[in-house]
Every structure is written in structure tokens, then in C-alpha cells.
């Protein structure tokens, strides 16, 4: 096993535990915005998509990468905006 993989695995394990700790106590009021906000974060795959799309190796991979950029952008932009819109309505009077 190469050491880079071990390092990445280490990051994975710690992040999962961190995720459990972070989200553990969320009031049910916020379940929907939490979900859609988290969903927007999962659009981070856009980083990989940009690299695939722009590296111009073969025509097919450019097409696949470009499609990935499109879908990931919809996910990111739409996800953050819709979460923001929802949270703007949560008010205490």
C-alpha cells in the first residue's frame, strides 16, 4: 500500500467521525436546510469535474468531464441558493 493512500484513508476516517460529532444534535426544525446545505457541499466533486473537463486528454473524457461540471454546478449553485432561501424564512418573533 502506498503511503498516500494511507494518508487519505486517515483523512477519511477522521472526517467521518468529525461529521458524526458535528451533526449529532440538530433540532428537527433544521433538518431540511441541513440536508440541502450538506447536499450542496457534496457538489465538491466539481473539483474533480473541472480537472477532467479542462485537461483535454481525449474527446470522450472532455465530454464526460464537461457534463460532470454542469451537473455539479447545478448541485452547488442550486443547493446553496435554495438553502439560503429556506433559512431566510426561519425567524423568531
Amino acid at each position: 500500500m502506498d503511503s498516500l493512500f494511507i494518508l487519505l484513508l486517515f483523512v477519511l476516517v477522521l472526517s467521518i467521525f468529525l461529521g458524526f460529532e458535528l451533526i449529532n444534535k440538530v433540532p428537527s426544525t433544521l433538518h431540511t436546510p441541513l440536508m440541502s446545505g450538506a447536499n450542496a457541499i457534496s457538489g465538491i466533486t466539481i473539483v474533480g469535474a473541472l480537472l477532467s473537463s479542462g485537461s483535454e486528454s481525449t474527446f470522450l473524457t472532455t465530454i464526460l468531464g464537461t457534463a460532470a461540471v454542469f451537473f455539479a454546478t447545478v448541485n452547488v449553485v442550486g443547493g446553496y441558493l435554495v438553502t439560503n432561501r429556506m433559512l431566510g424564512m426561519f425567524k423568531k418573533k
Binding site: S28, L34, V47
Partner: protein, 468 residues
């Protein structure tokens, strides 16, 4: 452009900063007062990650990706700003699916790009395609069910599990072929990739189809978790830390939400995934007893008199409130009752509606202060002191069978025990059973009055009675 901004050090440093922003953002999403700021912080992290990536040296051509970025931003922004709050579950499901397909495409492109990927990268490619594909087709199917393009009921057929296991094994076999590359199948790399994608998409449909109705919040939360895991797995393909951190944070949060939803229904995840709850049961001969009793209807004028005299009122909304768009009228009635010196609360069951937190979003849209929204555990102990419970289009989450009838499919599920209040109004279109297709003895209880008709209309009429 200076070389420093393209150096590994700078890029990695920026990715670490982005991860920190995600972590803070996600943390703040758990607090109503700071959630909006948290979302903004997390979006700054995303912006940073994207900006740094665009500077990367391996990106030679910006032509295609800028078109895709702009087109995606336009589509995402217009969908997000125009969607009605009642159709929010569909949109979240759709966005989720897009994240899944993006990860799948990234994995595929990397696989076709490099001939010499190592064992680990190839395993990650297979995993990314499997999870990404399941997320995509599963989310699309959930979207179809939620938007009622497709039948929302659970779809079950004979031998379902065998078919599922067959496809799962097929997926594993194709993954093994991608990783080891034995050439046994005698087909090209591209054909193997295409078959794996196809199998992943079919798996997503097989996993989502048996789930329907009141179980939708669980599958939505679970698919949310998958989209994160797909991104984390894509991180192993391109050896990128920020994908792994962000992806696993989302994966973990999705798992927690799924657990909360399962707990709120007193069922295990396996039971939700494979139980086919709510499907017409074939063997209901033993357990079910015909419910005896009389339905007592009430008209708006009489309910007004009771509400007018009430000191405390608890609204319990369900999916029916979303359907009839009654949330604004409900808020108006609530304010009038408060003006009348009455204590008004909203009892929200975690799985009411079709998405985790569905009711909270609708009531927030209607301007109901979130500190008036209470959970079952807060309100059940003081239920005897509540004068009137107004059940608006909710059924299973207020069903007394969950406590009283051991033969009921929802027995043991924590419910809002409205039948213990002094009076219960049930707003209902007609006497049809709820989404789960089970009878509700609440409708026949001594203290229950049925207010038939469209929920929005009934509430609006009550509002005008109060005003006159």
C-alpha cells in the same frame, strides 16, 4: 499568473482552508440563529475550492468548462429561486441526484484517461461509479415519486430480493474486472465501464422502488448520504483531500439524519429498505380487527365556538397541509388565537411530510416563529392540559394504534398523542385512509370531531369567523 498560485503548497493550503470553512458552515447549520451564516461560510469554502482548481496547471482548455459552469449556474439558480416551498422535497432529491451523476462521470473520465491507474485508484473508480449511479437513479426515482409523476406507492414484485442480489453480484463482478483487468469477458474497457454504469443505475432503481409514502424521508436522507460518499470515493480516484473531507462530512450527516428518521418511526433501516411498508398486506387476517365506532362530524361554526373558548391549542400538521397549501391560513388562525389570549403551539413529528423537516419549512415560509414549533417529546407529557388539538392532514403520526394495537404495522412508533387532549379536530378531505393505508381509530374516539373539507378552506373560514 505567478507560479506561487499554481504550486502544490498553495493549492493544498487553499483546500485545507476550504475544508475548515465546510466544517464551520456545517456546524452552524445546526443552530437556528446562525444557520444562514453557516450556509454562507460553507459556500465561500466551495468558491475557494473552485477558484483554486481553475488555476490548476493541468487545465489547458477553459472553453468547455466555462460553458458548463455558466449553464449549470443558470439552471441551478433559476430552479432554486423559482421553486415553491411545497415542492422543496422534489428539488432537493433532484439536486442530490445531480451530485451523484457528477461523481460517476468524474470516476468514468479518470478511468478512461489513464491506462496505468493502480489497484487503489481502480477500486475507487468502481466504488464511485456504483455509489454515484445508485444516487443518481435512486434520486431521480424519488423525484418522480415525490412530484407524483410516478406512483408514490411502494413497488414490490415477486423475487425482488433475488433480482437485487443478482445485480449486486453483477456489479461486484464488473468492479473486480475493472480492478484486476483479466480480459476474461473479451470486451473493451469502455464496454465494461458502460455495463458497470448500467448495473449501478438499475441498482438505484431496485433499492428505491420498494420505498414509498411515509417512508420517503428515510430514503431522501439516505440518498443524501450516498451523494457525499460518492464524492469522497471520487476523492480517492484523483487523490484529493478536500473531496474526501467534504464528502465524508456529508456522508456522516446523511447517516445521522437517516437514523433520526428511522428512530422516529421505530423501525430499523433494513426494515425500511426491504420491508415494503404501506404496501397492501396480503396476510392481514390475524391481527387486524374491524374498528367499530361512529364518526362525529362538526361544522366550522361549532368549531369556532370551541376554539374561541380554548386556552391552549396545538396544531399538528401533516402532508395534507402541504397539499392544500394551508400553512398561511394556519398561521393567520394561530395569530388570531394568540390575540384571543390562547396559548398556541405547533406539534411537529420528525417524519411528518415527505422529507426530514418538511413541515418546519412550510411553517417558516408562512412566517410562524420557530420557537412555537415543538417536538413530540415536548408536547406529549402535557397533552392532557391541551384544550384543542387541530390535526391538519396528518394521519399516521397521530395514530393511537401505535400505542394501543400490537397488530398494527406502526405499533411502537412514537406519535403525537393528540387523542389525550380534551378535544381533537381532524381536518380531512373525506373518510379515506392515510398514505400508509392503515385505519386510524383516532377518527372514532369520543373526543374527536371531524371537520371534513379542504383544509385551507376550512381554516380560512375559521379565520373569517374570528374576524367578524
Amino acid at each position: 499568473m505567478s507560479n506561487f498560485f499554481q504550486s502544490d503548497f498553495f493549492v493544498d493550503f487553499a483546500y485545507i482552508c476550504a475544508s475548515i470553512l465546510f466544517i464551520f458552515g456545517l456546524r452552524m447549520l445546526g443552530n437556528p440563529e446562525r444557520a444562514q451564516r453557516g450556509n454562507l461560510i460553507s459556500s465561500l469554502g466551495m468558491l475557494l475550492a473552485i477558484a483554486v482548481t481553475l488555476l490548476d496547471q493541468s487545465i489547458i482548455s477553459y472553453q468547455f468548462l466555462s460553458i458548463a459552469l455558466i449553464a449549470g449556474a443558470i439552471v441551478g439558480a433559476s430552479a432554486a429561486t423559482t421553486v415553491k416551498m411545497t415542492t422543496m422535497p422534489e428539488l432537493v432529491a433532484l439536486f442530490n441526484g445531480f451530485g451523484g451523476i457528477a461523481s460517476l462521470l468524474v470516476g468514468s473520465a479518470e478511468f478512461l484517461n489513464f491506462n496505468a491507474l493502480n489497484f487503489i485508484a481502480l477500486s475507487a473508480v468502481s466504488l464511485t461509479i456504483l455509489i454515484g449511479g445508485v444516487t443518481f437513479s435512486g434520486s431521480l426515482l424519488a423525484f418522480g415519486k415525490l412530484s407524483e409523476i410516478l406512483d408514490g406507492k411502494p413497488f414490490l414484485f415477486f423475487g425482488q430480493r433475488i433480482v437485487l442480489i443478482t445485480f449486486l453480484l453483477l456489479g461486484l463482478a464488473l468492479s473486480a474486472e475493472i480492478i484486476i483487468d483479466t480480459g476474461i469477458l473479451g470486451i473493451s474497457k469502455l464496454a465494461i465501464l458502460a455495463s458497470l454504469i448500467l448495473v449501478a443505475l438499475i441498482l438505484g432503481i431496485l433499492l428505491t422502488a420498494p420505498i414509498g409514502g411515509a417512508d420517503m424521508p428515510v430514503i431522501i436522507a439516505l440518498l443524501n448520504s450516498y451523494s457525499g460518499l460518492a464524492a469522497a470515493s471520487a476523492g480517492f480516484v484523483i487523490n484529493n483531500n478536500v473531496l474526501i473531507v467534504a464528502g465524508s462530512l456529508v456522508g456522516a450527516s446523511g447517516v445521522i439524519l437517516t437514523q433520526i428518521m428511522c428512530k422516529a418511526m421505530n423501525r430499523s433501516l433494513t426494515n425500511v429498505l426491504f420491508g415494503g411498508f404501506g404496501a397492501p398486506s396480503k396476510s392481514s387476517a390475524g391481527g387486524s380487527t374491524e374498528i367499530q365506532g361512529e364518526v362525529k362530524p362538526i361544522n366550522v361554526a361549532d368549531s369556532y365556538l370551541i376554539l374561541e373558548a380554548a386556552n391552549s391549542v396545538l396544531f399538528v400538521p401533516g402532508y395534507g397541509m402541504a397539499v392544500s397549501q394551508a400553512q398561511h391560513s394556519v398561521r393567520e388562525l394561530g395569530e388570531l388565537l394568540e390575540g384571543n389570549g390562547c396559548d398556541v403551539k405547533y406539534g411537529i413529528h420528525p417524519v411528518a411530510g415527505r422529507m426530514p423537516g418538511h413541515m418546519n419549512v412550510l411553517l417558516a415560509e408562512a412566517n410562524v416563529s420557530y420557537d412555537l414549533l415543538v417536538e413530540p417529546d415536548d408536547v406529549n407529557p402535557i397533552m392532557e392540559t391541551v384544550d384543542v388539538c387541530v390535526v391538519i392532514g396528518a394521519n399516521d403520526v397521530v395514530n393511537p394504534d401505535a400505542r394501543e394495537n400490537e397488530g398494527s404495522p406502526i405499533y411502537g412508533m412514537p406519535v403525537i398523542e393528540v387523542d389525550r387532549a380534551k378535544t381533537v379536530f381532524v381536518l380531512k378531505r373525506s373518510m379515506a385512509s392515510g398514505f400508509a393505508g392503515i385505519d386510524n381509530p383516532l377518527f372514532l374516539k369520543e373526543n374527536t370531531r371531524m371537520l371534513f373539507g379542504d383544509a385551507k378552506e376550512s381554516i380560512s373560514t375559521l379565520v373569517s369567523e374570528f374576524k367578524s
